[in-house]
């Protein structure tokens, strides 16, 4: 493990050298909010962002992704995207979400399309400098992160600590100049940042430890909150769309103008959308809004944890911000179940 200490100028030079050498995406301002987008200059990189509109999931599971191309006579052929890229500014909670998605795409059936891209990605994580208005990563245990990334950046006063962890990280860090090794003092200060972030990233406070949620849900299937909140649900799927741990998808075909060739692609889908569980012939196995609404909370709090051993909500708070009906706050929902069960 190697930790470097860079001042602002050295840091900017390093980021620009990364941009010169490969495809780099980084967090940038978009009006008064933030997005991951192609980075052309270090000066556009905003590591002081609170949260991005969409999670970095879009680079591993793109909103639309070609899986196969076909020729109606010849049949299908796999299409893989394995061009290397660097992702700058992934917050700890988003890093945890990426690591969870890795597990889900590897279990039982290995998804080569996902992993070709994932293995070529170098992830530069970044400790949170400013809390977003709805973040609750602190109580989900995801305000800080200890693995999954290749490099972790922590801003302390006027300099950056660059913690290089993996082979890919070392390759990316090769162009770092004018850096010294991190001293004990700055490492101590980094620990303080982590302790502070765990406290600060709790704009909503879960009343139990996240590990308890599967047991809370065990006794909450018939709770009135599902029906009450779902009555205001537009089934718009915004909560699915912005969620870093949602990974459901639909698969569709696209034909070229010649009607011979085309592609099969996957596209994000959402379990809140009305037709999600409908089959050909018209039967919809999850017709009721409340059933769809409840399904999402059970997936995050019970079903996925049963598969990978972690609660599949990382506390980014994006669903809370995105929901027009103001019913998507997981902390409010889970606390209601917790408190009434006491």
């Amino acid at each position: 493990m190697k930790i470097k200490k860079l001042d602002k100028a050295a840091f900017g030079k390093w980021v620009n050298s990364c941009i010169e050498n490969q495809r780099v995406y980084g967090v940038q301002a978009k009006e008064d909010r933030f997005v991951f987008a192609p980075l052309v200059s270090a000066k556009d990189l905003r590591l002081d962002h609170d949260v991005t509109i969409l999670p970095p999931k879009k680079y591993f599971l793109p909103p639309q992704e070609t899986l196969l191309k076909f020729d109606r006579k010849e049949g299908f052929e796999s299409v893989f995207d394995d061009e290397p890229f660097v992702l700058f500014g992934v917050h700890p909670y988003d890093m945890v979400a990426i690591s969870q998605t890795d597990k889900l795409f590897a279990e039982n059936h290995y998804d080569t399309h996902y992993f070709k891209r994932r293995q070529k990605a170098t992830i530069v994580a970044s400790d949170v400098q400013n809390a977003s208005k709805d973040v609750f990563a602190g109580c989900m245990g995801t305000a800080t992160v200890n693995d999954g990334f290749d490099i972790l950046i922590t801003k302390i006063d006027s300099y950056y600590l660059v913690d290089i962890r993996t082979k890919k990280g070392r390759a990316l860090a090769k162009t770092i100049k004018d850096a010294e090794d991190a001293d004990d003092m700055s490492l101590k200060l980094r620990k303080l940042v982590w302790a502070d972030n765990t406290e600060l990233l709790q704009k909503h406070k879960l009343h139990v430890r996240p590990e308890v949620l599967p047991r809370v849900l065990d006794r909450s299937y018939e709770h009135p909150v599902w029906e009450e909140n779902a009555q205001r649900c537009y089934s718009c799927g915004s909560c699915n769309l912005v969620c870093p741990t949602c990974y459901c998808f639909d698969v569709r075909d696209d034909v070229e103008w010649n009607l011979q060739k085309g592609r099969r692609y996957r596209v994000w889908d959402g379990c809140l959308l009305a037709e999600f569980a409908a089959v050909a012939g018209g039967h919809n196995f999850r017709r009721n809004r409340a059933d769809r609404y409840r399904h999402r909370y059970y997936r995050k709090g019970k079903y996925v944890p049963e598969k990978i051993g972690e609660v599949a909500c990382v506390g980014c708070g994006r669903c809370i911000t995105a929901c027009t009906a103001k019913i998507a706050n997981p902390v409010e929902v889970y606390n209601k179940l917790v408190d009434e069960g006491k």
């Binding site: 076909f70 049949g75 299908f76 290995y110 099969r264 996957r266 012939g281 079903y303």
Partner: protein, 279 residues
């Protein structure tokens, strides 16, 4: 991060060729197919495949023939969606594309061995069950009594008409059928499938029931089977859901925590009694 099997593509369908096509009812057609690789499909009764038509899409379809009958595999496809409509336009010699087989199967080599078997098939539910029936009949000595109950909505909805007659005449098979609504062509019994159950004697200690039909059928069939003295673990069901990816990723076929494409489509009833969305 797992780096296993890194070149295999779980979404890549393999080419197959249509052998025989036969219209069975207004909505359903029969297809026999063979993989172009010359290999057997390698399925077990109850499993399904994802069938592709390039440019249209992919749909989950039950395999209707038994792996004991080599060379080709058979499907019956109801014309209700984009993919099935396109499949209905195929003729002998045309290409289609296959992924799979996927999912669980009826326990023909395990729990069903040595037991009396009662097959309860409602309408198109006979399609996957036929694979198990053929398997059992092809290994007839391995099982006890074989009882096949079939219910169709109307006489014109009956599938596999010639095979039904064969089962009816088979010496060591009890075959009973009914239609929900009779017409002038039908002289047999009228009534829902549960009306057939009291007509057969069930050795409750020694019987395995295999049921497949529309969602509503299960509710009533299960009650009658339990009343007849079967335990929950003696009943197997095949459930339908939107199995889009077939590999437990896309989320569409989930019943609570269960993925039908992986944990099903065949379930032991005792395993799903607590699964609220199952029935």
């Amino acid at each position: 991060m797992c780096k296993c099997d890194s070149e295999k593509d779980i979404y890549l369908p393999l080419p197959a060729t249509v052998g025989k096509v036969k219209s069975m009812t207004k909505l359903e057609s029969f297809f026999s197919c063979q993989l172009d690789s010359g290999e057997e499909l390698g399925h077990m009764p109850g499993q399904f495949v994802e069938v592709s038509i390039p440019g249209i899409g992919e749909a989950p379809i039950s395999v209707s023939s038994s792996p004991t009958r080599k060379g080709s595999f058979e499907m019956v496809i109801r014309n209700v969606g984009n993919v099935s409509e396109a499949l209905h336009k195929l003729a002998a010699g045309d290409k289609l594309f296959i992924r799979g087989p996927f999912g669980t199967s009826f326990p023909v080599d395990e729990a069903m061995k040595g037991k009396d078997i009662i097959f309860v098939c409602g309408g198109i539910g006979i399609v996957p069950v036929r694979s198990a029936i053929q398997y059992v009949l092809d290994n007839r000595d391995d099982y006890g009594r074989v009882i096949i109950l079939f219910g169709a909505k109307t006489p014109s909805d009956r599938l596999f008409i010639e095979e039904l007659d064969k089962w009816r005449e088979e010496k060591n098979v009890t075959f009973l059928e009914t239609v929900d609504h009779r017409d002038e062509s039908w002289s047999g019994p009228e009534g829902v499938i549960t009306t057939l159950l009291p007509l057969v004697k069930i050795d409750k200690e020694n019987t395995i029931a295999v049921a497949c039909g529309p969602p509503i059928m299960y509710k009533f069939v299960i009650i009658v089977l339990l009343e007849a003295g079967l335990r929950e673990d003696q009943i197997y069901l095949s459930l339908e859901r939107r199995m889009k990816c077939g590999v437990g990723k896309c989320g569409h076929c989930q019943i609570n925590n269960i993925y039908v494409c992986q944990d099903g489509p065949v379930f032991n009833f005792s395993d799903i009694t607590d699964i609220k969305e199952a029935l």
